[in-house]
């Protein structure tokens, strides 16, 4: 597994996110904020990132004729959940901090914080498992 393998998919995903922000500057952020308020955003993101990660991993394994490993599968299944749940707590702290500033545009700022957080959390949840797998591979190579 090379880090450039998930990089292209992640790059395209990020571009799509950016283009949605450009072409739907109101409805796309509103959809994200409403889903976050209804507590549907994190489970949806977990499902999406796990499926995407498994898809990327299986495609790379098929292209390199490699056998998918159990440790990598565990990592791909669990790390996105840990990352996204952890960052959700991080977002709660961010929102509390924004609302404590007592400024007139605080609700609008909270929406923008949720939007930015969702984007970075998506990237983190997809990339971190592959980073860990790569580090584990290098560690194993050094040991053998």
């Amino acid at each position: 597994m090379r880090l450039s393998d998930p990089a292209a998919t992640l790059g395209y995903l990020s571009l799509i996110f950016g283009l949605l922000l450009v072409f739907f500057p109101v409805s796309f952020p509103r959809m994200i904020v409403q889903n976050w308020e209804n507590a549907r955003l994190t489970p949806t993101m977990i499902l999406f990132t796990v499926l995407l990660n498994v898809g990327i991993y299986l495609r790379v394994a098929h292209r390199r004729s490699a056998k998918p490993g159990i440790i990598a599968a565990t990592c791909l299944g669990s790390v996105p959940v840990v990352v996204l749940v952890g960052l959700n707590f991080w977002l709660q702290a961010t929102i509390a901090g924004t609302l404590n500033q007592y400024i007139s545009s605080a609700p609008a700022r909270v929406n923008e914080e949720i939007l930015a957080h969702t984007f970075f959390a998506l990237i983190a949840a997809i990339f971190t498992p592959f980073l860990l797998i790569r580090l584990a591979q290098q560690f194993r190579q050094k040991q053998s």
């Binding site: 090379r2 880090l3 450039s4 393998d5 990089a7 292209a8 992640l10 790059g11 395209y12 990020s14 571009l15 996110f17 950016g18 922000l21 450009v22 500057p25 109101v26 952020p29 509103r30 904020v33 409403q34 960052l87 991080w90 977002l91 702290a93 961010t94 901090g97 924004t98 007139s104 545009s105 609700p107 609008a108 700022r109 929406n111 923008e112 914080e113 939007l115 930015a116 957080h117 984007f119 970075f120 959390a121 990237i123 983190a124 990339f127 980073l131």
Partner: protein
């Protein structure tokens, strides 16, 4: 949802800083070196017509991406986002930037020590990581642009 309305966000597309930002990086970071190579070939009456993959075959796009990541981290640090969001964005931009420059470093080290080196692999890896850094930076600049407008409300 209390936020920007569509008029605020769409009507001034031409004034959007991120458009200028993309233009600057594409022209100076990628097209600039390519055009300079062409100009050099013409000046020296050479038939050389290198492609982008040949100019950046040692993973130099990784170095360009690293510089790009640094500039966006700097913009993020100057923004009015909460420290939590700034930290999260900066860490992931830094991580992807470091991974991109790693391709260039590895390529240099392999060539210097005479180890097995594949230019096509260096080009492919640096191109993919450059796309990732560029798209991350692109979205971050859009988010920053939106936040400036919200903060001004």
């Amino acid at each position: 949802m209390v936020a920007l309305n569509s008029h605020n966000l769409i009507a001034d597309w031409t004034a959007a800083k991120w458009l200028l930002w993309i233009g600057l990086y594409l022209s100076f970071g990628i097209l600039g070196p390519w055009l300079m190579t062409r100009a050099w070939a013409q000046q020296h009456r050479s038939n050389m017509q290198p492609r982008l993959s040949q100019i950046f075959q040692h993973g130099e796009l990784g170095l360009v991406s690293f510089m790009l990541a640094i500039s966006v981290i700097w913009d993020l640090q100057k923004s009015q986002y909460m420290p939590h969001t700034i930290a999260l964005g900066s860490v992931f931009l830094a991580m992807t930037g470091i991974m991109a420059v790693q391709v260039w470093i590895e390529s240099y080290c392999r060539r210097s020590t005479g180890m097995d080196f594949h230019p096509e692999r260096a080009w492919r890896d640096s191109r993919r990581l450059a796309l990732l850094v560029f798209s991350l930076a692109f979205v971050t600049e859009i988010l920053l642009d939106r936040f400036v407008k919200v903060a001004a409300l």
